[in-house]
């Protein structure tokens, strides 16, 4: 038995959370130290997984399987494929940078980071991270739900306690209810799959590698695909169930927004892919037109709503809806190009949006406003943040040379192959995105700084810079050297295509 790296990655944040909760409340810096140490540890391990994944061998790797409840066929079955490996890395990255961003130095007059009860904050954030890792690596349907719910509920507390005072209660409850409803709808679908498989084969198992080949009947898949897929896709921010997401982004504290948009939304998309498309491929074929419409609307509509926002965080929130729409659009093509693009887009968008939220948080902490017209001239004082935001903007627009291009181009290629009209319509979003990103960069970073902000703005901290560099690094590396990620994702796509019957 090899080193059980996946379970170590998954449970590291959980253990760290338990340790932090047992520490005295006034040891704030020690708590932060534990948080950073365990986040670094998890990041290094996920790097290790990423680089030692054997693309030639493909399939599920680093597999661990422990019987958990044999009587019902529940096992702790971990393994990653080409789709989930980048997402594990993404979670590691966002977790690491999230801790840096929320370090919260008590001495400064800048109210950056988390100063109120950092112990509880990091503990809840890490429990959430554990859940996220767990979903990405679980090959057991029951455990997938287990970790999925673990990833959802700390969100309520994180937003309600440390969020933006004006909307946090409303947003936190809305988010929790949306996500909970979505997940339990999928749960019913999963239970039905479980029993149908039992009836057909006489094997009680939640193991997805078995259920993948269960051969559910056409009508069964036709009925249950939509509830399962859409139930998870709620968390992926699919239109028309995206409503919770911008509210949640805006109300959440910076690190939670990063997690939320960067990782949690991928969680929904990933689970929709893993459980919806991979277990019910025939259903996916039948309903792909509907998913394509939903996703197409999300792409254009999200971009347009982002365009008219005055609040910087709402703008990024809706741009996330738009970009996650591209992921779903990629899924709905069910062809190689589209799925590969969607896989890369999940990573690219995760890093990009984490960066956006991090920088927005830095700006808000210093200027105490997120209203775009009230901001200006930030590049003079915080050049690092400005450069970071511009790089993120270029990714968002899909500029060649950055990860956004590597992701979006195949998606559009795939959509063109499936339904060229949708590709034409969806590409409008690129123009709108470019417009609002450019406009914001001009206003926030280069316009004249308003009088009242003059003298109040300080540069970002060293930790912030480390976070920005880390996040930007990924976007540039993937953009310039797509082989960093694309071959890996394609191995995952091959498996999906095999399940789809070589379509």
């Amino acid at each position: 038995m090899n080193f059980p790296v996946l379970s170590v990655i998954t449970f590291t944040p959980m253990v760290a959370a338990a340790i932090m909760l047992l520490m005295p409340a006034d040891k704030k810096n020690e708590t932060r130290g534990v948080a950073l140490a365990s986040a670094t540890f998890a990041l290094l391990l996920s790097f290790w997984v990423y680089f030692s994944y054997d693309t030639a061998a493909a399939g599920y790797q680093f597999v661990e399987k422990y019987n958990w409840l044999p009587a019902l066929g529940i096992s702790l079955h971990f393994g990653v494929d080409g789709m989930s490996t980048p997402l594990v890395l993404l979670t590691g990255v966002v977790m690491f940078t999230g801790v840096l961003i929320s370090w919260g130095d008590d001495d400064k007059h800048v109210m950056a980071g988390i100063q109120d009860r950092p112990r509880e904050f990091f503990a809840f954030l890490f429990i959430l991270a554990s859940g996220v890792f767990g979903v990405f690596v679980s090959l057991d349907l029951f455990m997938l739900f287990f970790f999925y719910e673990i990833a959802v509920f700390p969100m309520y507390l994180l937003i309600a306690i440390w969020g933006w005072v004006q909307t946090r209660e409303y947003a936190a409850m809305k988010l929790t209810l949306y996500l909970f409803i979505g997940s339990v709808v999928s749960l019913v679908g999963a239970l039905v799959m479980y029993w149908t498989n039992f009836q057909n084969t006489g094997v009680l198992t939640f193991d997805m590698t078995v259920l993948e080949n269960a051969g559910f009947s056409q009508t069964f898949q036709y009925i249950w695909f939509l509830p399962v897929f859409l139930g998870f896709a709620v968390l992926g921010g699919i239109w028309p169930f995206h409503n919770w997401s911008p509210d949640g982004h805006v109300a959440a504290p910076t690190a939670v927004s990063m997690f939320h948009a960067g990782v949690l939304m991928k969680l929904g998309a990933f689970a929709a892919l893993r459980v919806g498309i991979m277990l019910l491929p025939e259903g996916a074929k039948q309903w792909s037109w509907l998913i394509m419409i939903f996703a197409g609307v999300a792409v254009v509509y999200g971009a347009y709503i982002a365009f008219v926002q005055k609040d910087l965080k709402y703008m990024i929130g809706f741009s996330s809806v738009s970009h996650m729409g591209l992921v779903m659009l990629g899924f709905s093509t069910l062809n190689e190009a589209g799925l590969t693009g969607a896989g890369v887009q999940m990573f690219s968008h995760g890093v990009m949006t984490a960066l956006f939220f991090a920088i927005t948080g830095m700006i808000y902490d210093r200027s105490h406003t997120r209203q775009i017209p009230e901001l200006g001239g930030m590049s003079r004082i915080m050049p690092f943040a400005a450069i970071g935001f511009i790089i993120g903007g270029l990714v968002s627009m899909g500029m060649p040379g950055f990860s956004g291009f590597v992701a979006e181009f195949p998606i559009f290629m795939g959509v063109w192959g499936a339904q060229w009209m949708v590709a034409v319509i969806a590409s409008i979003s690129i123009v709108i995105t470019a417009a609002y990103i450019m406009r914001n960069i001009r206003q926030v970073f280069f316009a004249k700084m308003p009088e009242k902000l003059e003298g109040h703005i300080t540069d970002v901290t060293m930790l912030d810079k480390v976070a920005i560099v880390t996040l930007c690094g990924f976007m540039i590396v993937i953009g310039l050297y797509p082989r960093f990620m694309v071959p890996l994702v394609s191995t995952g796509v091959e498996n999906i295509l095999r399940l789809l019957g070589g379509a």
Partner: protein
């Protein structure tokens, strides 16, 4: 007739009696102000009973002993262990209750009712069953009205007595009809007689209805739930906690055994009745919990709702269904005792059960708030706590039995649940005390509370993560029914 197996079958009951006698003897030797120490003795004694029974008293193949009165099987045994656990936790939680904790009688009454519950879980005969139910109920009537000077408590005791006596009388009528038709009071013989005899469906349904009145009262399902909120609110909180956990579980132990064993031939009819009851119970319980501002009343309605979820397992009428009922009750007992324990510990300091007064609790005692979070999230059905796994098992059983609609009702209801449980947590974590001076108002815990709450909190997590042992026990218990 009385051999070693008989002795083993009622080993926990004998040992409970021993503990009770120890208390009677020891209590007068303590000075009045030290009399709360009886709680240590009770809890320790019950814990010892549990260990001894687990070591020596485990059942083998199910057998009926004592002239067909008592069944010695895993179903009864597992429930007995749960009751002993609940009893030990409750006696710890009783200790620092200002008005009950120093009264030795309270512990004795608790043990008496525990004895009744153990017999309820093991009864194989209607006569024994009725005796056991009354042995359970009468001490609980007294305990509910234990705080004589408090009119809420008196009302609670009296209300509980009236409702209890009434429904038990109706159930007794059902028993007598059953005996009249079948000519036997043994549950296991009833099955064969009912299957063979020329029984009309109407007659059996009538009897089932009469039985349901009594058992529905015990497990507090709608429409026999009216007593629950008032009694929970008025009774001393540890007693309310005990009522809503052990007493309810005992009711379900009887319900499953009676219906699964005696009426399998009529399952099509009674599962349908139960499905309707489950739907109404979940919905009414959750909807009425929504507007509550008193934590104890909120927990009362939530415990009604939980009875509805358990009913889904009963409706499934399968091995998995029964196993999920047992598992759910195990998870629920631990969780709800934790919730009530926290309410006790808090109200002892702040002198209120109002949700509003929980504001700032997370700053006044972070550890306590964290345990409360665990309890409420478990009630809401969130992992990694017991409530999640329990709900999934119950829902899985429901789907297996083809009751997808009932499972969907259950799921919609658990969404309502999430709302009001999180709403309480909002006060605990988000809101602050009026002057924001939480540091000056700590909520300290005494030792018995700390021990009981930490054990319960660990239990909630253990049930929710390492669920295999508990499930295999539940499964063994369920096998005994078929």
């Amino acid at each position: 007739m009385f051999n070693s197996t008989t002795f083993l079958a009622i080993l926990p009951e004998i040992l409970i009696l021993v503990v009770a006698m120890l208390i009677l003897v020891a209590e007068p030797f303590w000075k009045a102000e030290q009399r709360r120490n009886v709680g240590w003795l009770t809890a320790g004694g019950l814990f010892a009973v549990m260990i001894i029974s687990l070591l020596f008293g485990r059942p083998g193949d199910p057998i009926t002993v004592l002239g067909g009165m008592v069944r010695f099987d895993w179903l009864g045994f597992f429930f007995k262990m749960l009751f002993l656990f609940a009893g030990a936790a409750t006696s710890l939680l009783l200790m620092d209750n200002d008005r009950v904790g120093h009264r030795g009688e309270a512990y004795l009454l608790l043990l008496a009712s525990l004895l009744g519950m153990d017999l309820m879980a093991a009864s194989a005969d209607l006569v024994m069953l009725y005796l056991a139910i009354e042995t359970t109920s009468i001490p609980l009537y007294i305990l509910s009205g234990f705080m004589l000077a408090d009119e809420h408590s008196t009302e609670a005791g009296f209300k509980y007595l009236l409702f209890g006596a009434m429904s038990s009388a109706v159930m007794l009528y059902g028993f007598s009809l059953l005996f009249g038709f079948a000519g036997t009071t043994n549950i296991y013989e009833l099955k064969t007689v009912l299957a063979a005899g020329p029984n009309t469906l109407v007659m059996v349904l009538g009897i089932i209805f009469l039985l349901l009145v009594g058992l529905g009262f015990k497990v507090s399902v709608v429409p026999f739930h009216f007593w629950a909120p008032d009694v929970y609110q008025g009774a001393p909180t540890p007693v309310a906690g005990f009522l809503s956990t052990a007493s309810k579980a005992a009711g379900f132990a009887v319900l499953t055994r009676l219906f699964f064993v005696a009426f399998p031939g009529f399952s099509q009819s009674w599962t349908l009745i139960f499905a309707v009851i489950a739907t109404v119970t979940m919905t009414v319980g959750n909807l009425l919990a929504l507007p509550q501002t008193n934590v104890k009343r909120l927990l009362a309605y939530s415990s009604i709702a939980h009875a509805g979820y358990v009913m889904i397992g009963v409706v499934s009428f399968s091995v998995l269904g029964a196993a999920s009922v047992v598992f759910y009750l195990a998870a629920y007992i631990v969780t709800n005792l934790l919730a009530f324990g926290i309410v006790m510990a808090v109200s002892r300091i702040i002198g209120s059960d109002d949700v509003k007064d929980y504001s700032g609790l997370s700053r006044r005692n972070p550890g306590l708030a964290l345990m409360m979070l665990a309890a409420f999230l478990s009630l809401a059905g969130m992992p990694p706590f017991g409530g999640f796994v329990a709900k999934v098992f119950v829902f899985a059983a429901g789907v297996q039995a083809g009751y997808v609609w009932l499972v969907i009702v259950g799921i919609l209801n658990s969404i309502i649940g999430v709302y009001y449980y999180l709403n309480v947590m909002k006060y605990v974590y988000l809101f602050r005390m009026p002057n924001e001076d939480e540091e000056k108002h700590p909520v300290p815990l005494t030792r018995p509370y700390t021990i009981a709450l930490v054990i319960l909190a660990l239990g909630v997590i253990l049930v929710g993560t390492l669920f295999a042992p508990w499930f295999s026990w539940s499964d063994m218990a369920a096998m005994n029914l078929f």
